[in-house]
């Protein structure tokens, strides 16, 4: 449990947000041309990093906007928050 600095609303309790998992997984441009292995990679395989990772969050009980976050999953420390479409910070 931690406090998240929503880029639109400011600091709010984590329980107001829902996590959308790993960020920057690009939707395939030509889904019809994907092999089964590539589909599995896109749909299911995750880095699941213990340490600093990039993830998507949604302020579900607030502005309901999506944004990205850089968080250390080993201690829940948040390193950066940035809007969708913005370049991920170098960490």
């Amino acid at each position: 449990m931690f406090v998240i600095n929503c880029p639109y609303c400011g600091e709010r309790d984590q329980s107001e947000f829902s996590c959308g998992g790993e960020a920057h997984i690009v939707r395939p441009k030509q889904p019809t041309e994907l092999s089964d292995d590539e589909w599995a990679e896109y749909l299911f395989m995750r880095k699941n990093i213990k340490g600093v990772q990039f993830e998507r969050w949604n302020h579900a009980h607030g502005c309901r906007k999506w944004f990205n976050m850089v968080r250390d999953s080993s201690n829940d420390k948040i390193h950066a928050v940035y809007k969708m479409g913005e370049k991920p910070p170098a960490i």
Binding site: C19, G21, W39, A40, R46, N48, E55, S73
Partner: protein, 417 residues
């Protein structure tokens, strides 16, 4: 077994004030090379080593544990054992485990305090009723004992439940598996460790794995905190840290690791003599032999390896508990903790070979791995020894995420994942 436990050994040791009991397992330094190495000294890993030695005659093997054995999820779960799963593949897997549980204390010569006190799953809305009735029928077709109880029968079986129809989630009935129950989770790890050690397995604690060495697509050994260990077969049973080990071998798994919480109350006199689980409100409760209420809560909805868990999750569970059991309103909670569970997209486990030769994974048990400990160890040992899955774990391969043949117990299992 050298130091067999019995009434006679108890009497004999009483004469020396119980000061001469032998250590139940050794504390060896790792050898340079093993025929197989198991990564992870929890219940599943120790059981795997035990069955590798016992059924497949592989004695030159080691179990590597980062901390101390049974200190991870084996010692953090709510000790519930049941096999009332919906799908045939899951029913086969979990009932295989339950059948081993029924004779495990005798087999290990170690009292794991297995108690078939029954597990009841409550229905709180019409869809729950339909789902649970369907599951009862599916269980019986698979030879698993299951009965449907109406609201009054639920009350009769567990008199402290509030069956008022005016509460937010009223009890509309439930299912009961009488063969289900609980076991002492630490004793399971200790019993398997003792059994494996007696057959020559090296149990190496405080030995974290730092890397996996590959030669092309074949594993060659492990970098560990105690140096390099050569081996051609590595079985990884690292629960929440499975992805961490997989990344060392350049492999990605379909897992997300999240904290799952549990808590216990102050000890009180016997008040609940069964296990009651409630899917819709995600609250389950039983009472330990010490008298503590053992309460299971849910997972946090984000990846974390912190072994803590959030307060709002516990709050939600306790609200549900209080509505169902108003008698607990003045109970004090004594301890709370979290364990890191590795969750698969279909909420079923993976007991499988990988595309790297000699690397095997037993993971993805999510929130419900304890109940499967003996069966999981047995089937994983078979998979490692023969380089082929047993027919009971064939469906739980890694390739199902490519083929789409998922074992979708999500929401179909007795408790929400």
């Amino acid at each position: 077994m050298k130091n067999k436990y019995s009434i006679f050994s108890l009497i004999k040791n009483a004469f020396s004030q119980h000061e001469n009991w032998k250590q139940a397992w050794g504390n060896p330094e790792p050898k340079k090379e093993y025929d197989a190495v198991i990564v992870g000294g929890g219940g599943h890993g120790l059981a795997t080593a035990y069955y590798l030695a016992k059924k497949h005659n592989m004695k030159n093997i080691a179990v590597l544990e980062k901390g101390w054995i049974g200190g991870g999820n084996t010692g953090r779960n709510t000790t519930i054992i049941r096999s009332n799963y919906l799908w045939d593949a899951s029913a086969g897997l979990y009932d295989h485990a339950l059948k081993i549980w029924e004779n495990l204390s005798q087999e290990l010569n170690y009292n794991i305090m297995f108690s078939q006190r029954g597990v009841m799953n409550l229905a709180h809305n019409l869809q729950d009723v339909r789902d649970l009735k369907r599951r009862t029928h599916a269980n019986r077709l698979n030879g698993i004992d299951a009965v449907w109880l109406d609201t009054n029968q639920v009350k009769e079986f567990c008199p402290i439940i509030n069956i008022s129809q005016d509460i937010r989630y009223p009890v509309l009935g439930g299912t009961l598996q009488r063969r289900a129950g609980t076991a002492r989770h630490d004793a399971v790890a200790w019993g398997y460790a003792r059994g494996a050690d007696a057959m020559g397995v090296d149990i190496i604690q405080n030995c974290e794995v730092k890397g996996i060495k590959r030669n092309g697509d074949q594993v060659e050994g492990l970098q560990t905190a105690k140096g390099f260990i050569k081996t051609k077969k590595i079985g990884v049973v690292a629960a929440g840290h499975s992805s961490v080990i997989a990344n060392m071998a350049g492999l990605k798994l379909p897992l997300e690791s999240k904290p799952l919480q549990a808590l216990v109350s102050e000890p009180v006199k016997p008040i609940i003599d069964t296990v009651v689980m409630s899917n819709a409100v995600h609250a389950y409760v039983s009472q330990s032999d010490k008298g503590e209420l053992v309460i299971g809560a849910g997972t946090d909805a984000y990846i974390s390896y912190t072994q803590r868990g959030s307060h709002d999750v516990v709050e939600g569970t306790l609200k549900a508990i209080l509505e169902l059991y108003p008698i607990f309103s003045r109970m004090k909670m004594l301890r709370q903790w979290g364990g890191i569970v590795d969750i698969c997209p279909d909420a079923s486990p993976i007991i499988s070979k990988t595309n790297i030769k000699g690397l095997y994974f037993n993971c993805g048990w999510g929130t419900g791995g304890f109940k499967a400990t003996p069966g999981s160890g047995d089937l994983f040992a078979h998979t490692i020894a023969n380089d082929e899955p047993h027919k009971l774990n064939a469906a739980f391969n890694l390739n199902r995420f490519v083929s789409g043949d998922l074992v979708d117990e999500h929401g179909a299992a007795a408790v929400a994942h």
